[in-house]
């Protein structure tokens, strides 16, 4: 037990816990780098995005709607919408960080990603969540994401037109898998239907990325409406 409480032991325990997810994120990072290269981003730009944003979902969305020259309002707004779930994740894990000093809590939150959040919640359920253990899961995961993006960007230049091998479809495919991961029954189905219909309609008639905001708002309105209907029925 004493061994477990040593900082080095805690750090290694974190690294062991995150290892399977490192194997899973490595190819995703490679794909991100490869397709960002075909969108005209340099290896430096791709690596910088992975290092500073460090949120796969929003980076994939940004590539999907990328324009030349880049629109900071468009991708910034899209990142805000896609990552709004972090608010809830950060609020939840924030209540389990008693071992963290004030400043360490904020530093830890800068590296909050879906996978790291899930591991930290799981850890907090069974034992005390420490800053050292958290650093043990963050450091290898962060370095793998940034490193594999760089490797993918360097390799991507040799791949040619992504549409021929279907690589451009990697982004929508990742999103579909993520959407299915959020599935919680008919409630989710209603939200998805509202969002999909609104997005397609707005996409047909309004240029730019407004269809994303339209879909998000329609899905949100549907969730609130169903929630209220359920409350009145109860």
């Amino acid at each position: 037990m004493l061994q477990q409480n040593r900082p080095a032991g805690e750090f290694l325990a974190g690294m062991r816990a995150i290892f399977p997810l490192i194997i899973a994120v490595l190819p995703i990072g490679l794909v991100f780098g490869a397709v960002s290269a075909t969108k005209g981003l340099s290896a430096v730009e791709t690596t910088l995005m992975s290092a500073l944003v460090f949120a796969g979902g929003s980076q994939f969305v940004a590539m999907d709607i990328w324009t030349h020259p880049a629109s900071w309002i468009g991708v910034g707004f899209a990142a805000l919408l896609v990552n709004i779930r972090h608010v809830l994740m950060s609020a939840s894990i924030g209540t389990k960080m008693q071992s963290f000093s004030g400043i360490k809590r904020y530093i830890a939150m800068l590296f909050l990603a879906d996978e790291l959040w899930a591991m930290a919640e799981f850890r907090a359920g069974s034992t005390r969540l420490t800053p050292t253990w958290y650093a043990g899961i963050v450091m290898p995961f962060y370095l793998t994401w940034v490193g594999s993006s760089l490797a993918g960007a360097l390799l991507g230049a040799f791949l040619g037109d992504p549409a021929i091998i279907g690589l451009d479809f990697a982004f929508p495919a990742v999103f579909i898998v993520l959407v299915m991961g959020f599935w919680k029954g008919p409630e989710t189905g209603a939200v998805l239907a509202a969002s999909g219909i609104a997005a397609v309609a707005v996409h047909q008639f309004v240029p730019g990325v407004w269809y994303i905001a339209a879909g998000a708002l329609a899905g949100l309105a549907m969730a609130l409406w169903r929630g209220r209907a359920r409350e009145q029925a109860a």
Binding site: H86, M109, G215, A216, L224
Partner: protein
């Protein structure tokens, strides 16, 4: 190796938006109680956003894309993420080659 100014601005905007979402939960729990309704609303946002992003590809691009989206969704119920993505990409490539 180039760094375009517009691209840099776009990356910084994304980083600022993401940092804002990551920090605000921590700030929020100091002042606000998150009740059932607020939780439902916040949980609906990620699937709604992702659906909005893929909807034009899934329903308004072409039959190859629609088919590949459907196959990916079915694969995602059984297979891990990377395998589902590979299946989806292969479906897109094959159905485009077949002329859909």
């Amino acid at each position: 190796m180039t760094l375009d100014l517009n691209t840099l601005l776009a990356i910084l905007a994304m980083a600022a938006a993401t940092i804002f979402t990551r920090i605000s939960g921590l700030v929020l729990i100091r002042y606000v109680e998150i009740d059932e309704n607020r939780r439902t609303a916040i949980e609906a946002i990620p699937p709604a956003v992702l659906m909005a992003v893929i909807a034009p590809t899934a329903f308004a691009t072409g039959w190859a894309e629609t088919l590949a989206c459907a196959v990916t969704a079915i694969a995602a119920r059984r297979l891990p993420m990377l395998a589902s993505v590979v299946v989806g990409v292969a479906t897109a490539a094959l159905s485009r080659a077949a002329g859909f």
